[in-house]
Symmetry: C2
Subunit: 142 residues, 2 copies
C-alpha cells in the first residue's frame, strides 16, 4: 500500500453494534446495569432488524434483534477463547474507580467473565458479560 | 433484575479489540488508511498473543495476533449477514465530512462493504473492511 500523506481526518467513536436475541431484555440490562438510555428506536426491513440506540456519555450501543439469527458462539463468552477466532471482539470502557464500579455491578448481579487483573503497572482490567453473554471490558485508570 | 438507583458511574470508550491474522499488516493498514498510531506493544503469554494498541484522537484499537487462531467467519465480512449471528459486531465512527473521507479512503484503495447510504434525514453511513475483512462503520453528521 502506498502511504498517502494528504487527507488527514478525525474519527470520533460513535457506537458499538451488538446483535442480541431479545432487544427488550438487552435494553433493560444496559439501562439497569450500566446506565445507558434509549435515544432512538427504528426498524430496518432490509436486514430485517429491530434496532435501538442507547447512549451513555458521548457513546452509544446499537442493539439489533434479527429474527432467526444464530446463537452467540460459545467461545465468544470467554475473553481469551474469543480471540482465537479472528474478528471484531469487544469494546472496552475506562471507569473512574474500578473497585467501586465492580462492587456496584456485583451488587446488581453482574456476570463476571474475568476478575479484576493487573495488566500493567497501576493498570487494571476485568471483563463482564451482558445478559446475552457478550463481553465488555472495564479498565482503569480513567 | 432489581433496578438499583444508587451507584451512578461514568464510562469512557477506550478501545475496540480485534483479533487479526497478521498484526504487522494490520498495524500498517490502520496507520496508512485511518491514521492510527501505535502507542504500546506487549505480549500476553497466557493467551498467547502479540498485542498492539493504536490510537486516533482519544480512542484506541487493540490488535491481537493469536497463533493458530481460526479465520474470520465469511458472514462477518457483510454488515447485514454479520448481524445474523449474535455477538459484538462492529465499531462505528463519525467523521466531519463523510464525502471527503470516503474519497480519500477510495484513493487509498479501501475495501467498501456498504456504499454510503442515507439512514435517516441528513444521516449517512457506510461500511469499510480493514485489510483482514473486519467491518468498520463510518457515519455523519459529526
Amino acid at each position: 500500500m502506498v502511504k498517502s500523506t494528504t487527507g488527514v481526518f478525525k474519527l470520533k467513536p460513535h457506537h458499538g453494534g451488538i446483535s442480541v436475541p431479545d432487544i427488550e431484555a438487552s435494553i433493560a440490562w444496559y439501562q439497569n446495569m450500566l446506565g445507558f438510555t434509549v435515544i432512538k428506536r427504528m426498524n430496518i426491513d432490509a436486514i430485517p432488524a429491530k434496532i435501538a440506540f442507547m447512549k451513555h456519555g458521548n457513546f452509544c450501543i446499537e442493539l439489533f434483534e434479527v429474527p432467526g439469527a444464530s446463537s452467540l458462539p460459545e467461545c465468544r463468552r470467554n475473553p481469551n477463547e474469543d480471540l482465537k477466532v479472528h474478528g471484531n471482539k469487544h469494546i472496552a470502557f475506562t471507569v473512574e474507580n474500578i473497585y467501586q464500579v465492580i462492587a456496584i455491578l456485583k451488587k446488581r448481579g453482574v456476570d463476571i467473565a474475568m476478575e479484576l487483573t493487573e495488566i500493567g503497572p497501576g493498570e487494571w482490567a476485568c471483563f463482564i458479560r451482558d445478559n446475552a453473554g457478550n463481553l465488555i471490558e472495564l479498565m482503569s485508570p480513567w
